[in-house]
């Protein structure tokens, strides 16, 4: 067992859904990242995703692009992020997942990355530009090190791809709610419901939905459909707007609390 599986099992037993909160590591600084993780956990985030900033984030919209630029300007590197995770592990056992573009991992080397990530206390990794077809080397290294490789499905995925990804994703499966980039607007909730239902039937792992979930109402609606709700750009926007306020972690915590409250208020599907 591990922190990701434990968390989903505990929530299931409680009739609750997972709130997965994304921030960009190093935005505005890695010190603040540490404070933000702790504040978000205290405010009800069940799993935390840390973005690894990359110079060319093709899957991300303007909000996360700018966060990545801020993080890179503050000198953030993958190695430093792993040190931050190691430091966090003396304070919290909240599941931590990295979202990294493939070149960041490739530059470190897949085997070294997986070993160092697990040593630091990372539970899983999401690579938005690595479809299962290209995942072989990373999957092998991840299995050896005990790191979960989380794959994505999209509205455009064919039934054959749904079946393949459903079998290969570890920890949870990330369903991208819309054809678009992070920060776009969620419009077709019915399509999400239909696809998530099909994926849940095929998947061995919980299914979390991300992209386009910006408000407590969105979070509550998606919580009625999936096992987990991923909120990224909406939180990152708060970090960007209040980066220089002294109460940044509390501000962001407040927003996370409002998301979790809306999700908890809804009876589980």
């Amino acid at each position: 067992m591990n922190r990701l599986d434990d968390t989903f099992q505990r929530l299931k037993a409680e009739g609750q859904k997972a709130l997965i909160a994304y921030i960009m590591a190093g935005d505005p600084s890695l010190q603040e990242t540490e404070a933000l993780v702790l504040a978000m956990e205290k405010s009800g985030a069940d799993i935390i995703e840390l973005g690894v900033p990359f110079s060319d984030p093709i899957a991300d919209g303007p909000v996360i692009q700018k966060a990545a630029e801020r993080a890179l300007r503050s000198g953030t590197t993958l190695r430093k992020i792993l040190r931050t995770v190691a430091s966090l592990r003396s304070k919290t056992q909240v599941p931590l997942v990295l979202m990294a573009y493939y070149n960041s991992i490739y530059a470190m080397g897949e085997a070294a990355f997986c070993r160092l990530a697990v040593e630091a206390g990372v539970d899983g990794v999401i690579v938005p530009d690595m479809p299962p077809e290209e995942a072989g080397p990373l999957e092998t290294a991840a299995v050896q090190a005990g790191l979960k490789t989380i794959f994505l499905l999209a509205p455009t995925s064919t039934p054959a791809r749904r079946a393949m990804v459903a079998k290969r994703s570890r920890g949870f499966l990330y369903y991208v709610s819309l054809t678009g980039i992070t920060g776009a607007k969620l419009t077709n909730l019915e399509e999400v419901r239909r696809n998530v239902t099909k994926i849940r039937q095929a998947a061995d792992v919980p299914v979390a939905v991300g992209f386009g979930i910006a408000t407590p109402q969105d979070a509550a609606q998606v919580a009625g459909i999936a096992d987990g709700v991923i909120v990224g750009s909406a939180i990152v926007r708060q970090v960007g707007e209040h980066a220089h306020d002294s109460g940044l972690p509390e501000r962001v915590g407040q927003f996370v609390r409002s998301l979790k409250a809306a999700m908890a208020a809804l009876p589980a599907a």
């Binding site: 899957a59 070149n103 999209a154 678009g180």
Partner: protein, 397 residues
């Protein structure tokens, strides 16, 4: 030599398909559609017909007599891709991909552009077939290639400036990929060079390989023998692979790819991927990439917008490692000198991209014997660069 790429889209260790899941079905659909037309005689005949009647192919192979005499060595031939409709080889690929998009019933096409030549070519093909066209271009490139921006708009395309990052080709591709991810069901992405995920490097190479096939026939007619050297500039690498491909099996034909040396490789301000890069993944493909220790993509510099890019086509990486193609670089200054030289000696203004290849010939030809033959790909004409050359020379127009 085996057939490359393999069915995973790999040229040895390079290539592949590193794209978000949202795009994977579209990439696979494109691959299937392309495999079909690749073997379809009607499609190939239609493509050849447009290349002949609309583009003006075959382009001539021109003996550059005064340049040859001045350099005093090998005989120099110019493959006149600058005579293609719209002024560069890019139109070969745009016509091919737009024809394919029509077969796939897509009504909208998007493209990225650096120097503007691929944007103009795609806007042209889209206009001819009545398709909606959006071109992404870094704002830095829009400034140095403002004439091409206006040309695209005259052709009915929407040109969208990209402010992110270095505001050049790399950032334009990022934004085009984001558009494609969002509009994948209605839109084909017309990529401009042998870059990106499979099947683009293969498909674009195929569409451009008409250049080398023509050259082979032409030089056999002119000289009765194959050339000793082929020289072409390498940004993404489509004009060079287009010239080289028909000669890869001719082991005695030497090939030189010329990258942008910018202010000099030692300055760090350049786009010489083989001199300064190492394998990595950018824009869906594994290839030589200018990057820092942490895998962040480096900013590049070149006087030529079309060569100003941090990665190179994966097939080039394969032939680099295999030693089949030799890669070198020339600086901004050397390229500008070659621009002047060709204008004055031959009455031809090359694109600044192509001027890099000419600059390499200036170094290479004197070292060779007079009976030896160099063919240089004059991939585009320099009209688009006149304003920038004036600016560099301090001339107000």
């Amino acid at each position: 030599m085996q057939q490359l790429p393999d069915h995973h889209g790999r040229f040895g260790a390079y290539g592949g398909r590193y794209v978000p899941e949202t795009l994977m079905p579209a990439i696979l659909e494109l691959e299937q559609a392309y495999e079909k037309v690749r073997r379809d005689r009607a499609f190939q005949a239609e493509f050849a017909d447009y290349l002949k009647r609309f583009v003006g192919r075959p382009t001539s192979l021109y003996y550059a007599e005064r340049l040859t005499k001045r350099l005093g060595g090998a005989k120099i031939y110019l493959k006149r891709e600058d005579l293609c409709h719209t002024g560069a080889h890019k139109i070969n690929n745009s016509i091919g991909q737009v024809l394919l998009a029509r077969r796939m019933k897509k009504q909208r096409v998007i493209a990225e552009t650096g120097a503007g030549q691929h944007g103009v070519a795609t806007a042209t093909a889209a206009a001819m077939f009545g398709m909606a066209c959006v071109v992404y271009m870094g704002t830095e490139d829009m400034e140095r290639q403002s004439l091409n921006v206006f040309r695209m708009r005259l052709l009915g395309a929407t040109v969208t400036g990209v402010e992110a990052g270095s505001r050049t080709l790399k950032d334009a591709i990022n934004e085009a990929m984001r558009d494609w991810t969002t509009n994948v069901r209605t839109t084909n992405y017309i990529l401009g060079s042998v870059l990106g995920p499979h099947p683009y490097p293969m498909m674009i190479r195929d569409f451009q390989s008409v250049i080398g096939r023509e050259v082979r026939k032409q030089i056999l007619t002119e000289e009765g023998t194959l050339p000793d050297y082929l020289v072409a500039c390498v940004g993404g690498g489509s004009n060079s692979i287009g010239l080289f491909h028909a000669f890869l099996k001719d082991r005695h034909v030497k090939m030189v790819g010329v990258e942008a040396g910018g202010l000099g490789v030692e300055s760090g301000k350049h786009a010489a991927r083989f001199a300064g890069g190492r394998p990595g993944v950018l824009h869906g493909t594994m290839t030589y990439l200018l990057q820092d220790d942490d895998g962040q993509v480096n900013l590049t510099h070149s006087v030529s917008a079309g060569l100003d890019y941090a990665a190179v086509g994966p097939e080039h990486s394969f032939y680099h490692d295999a030693g089949r193609i030799q890669y070198t670089s020339v600086t901004d200054d050397e390229a500008l000198a070659a621009f002047d030289l060709l204008a004055r000696d031959e009455g031809i203004m090359p694109a600044l991209e192509s001027a890099h290849a000419v600059a390499e010939v200036v170094k290479l030809a004197p070292r060779l014997k007079k009976k030896q033959v160099i063919i240089v790909n004059l991939s585009g004409r320099g009209d688009k660069d006149v304003q920038q050359v004036a600016r560099i020379k301090g001339v107000t127009l």
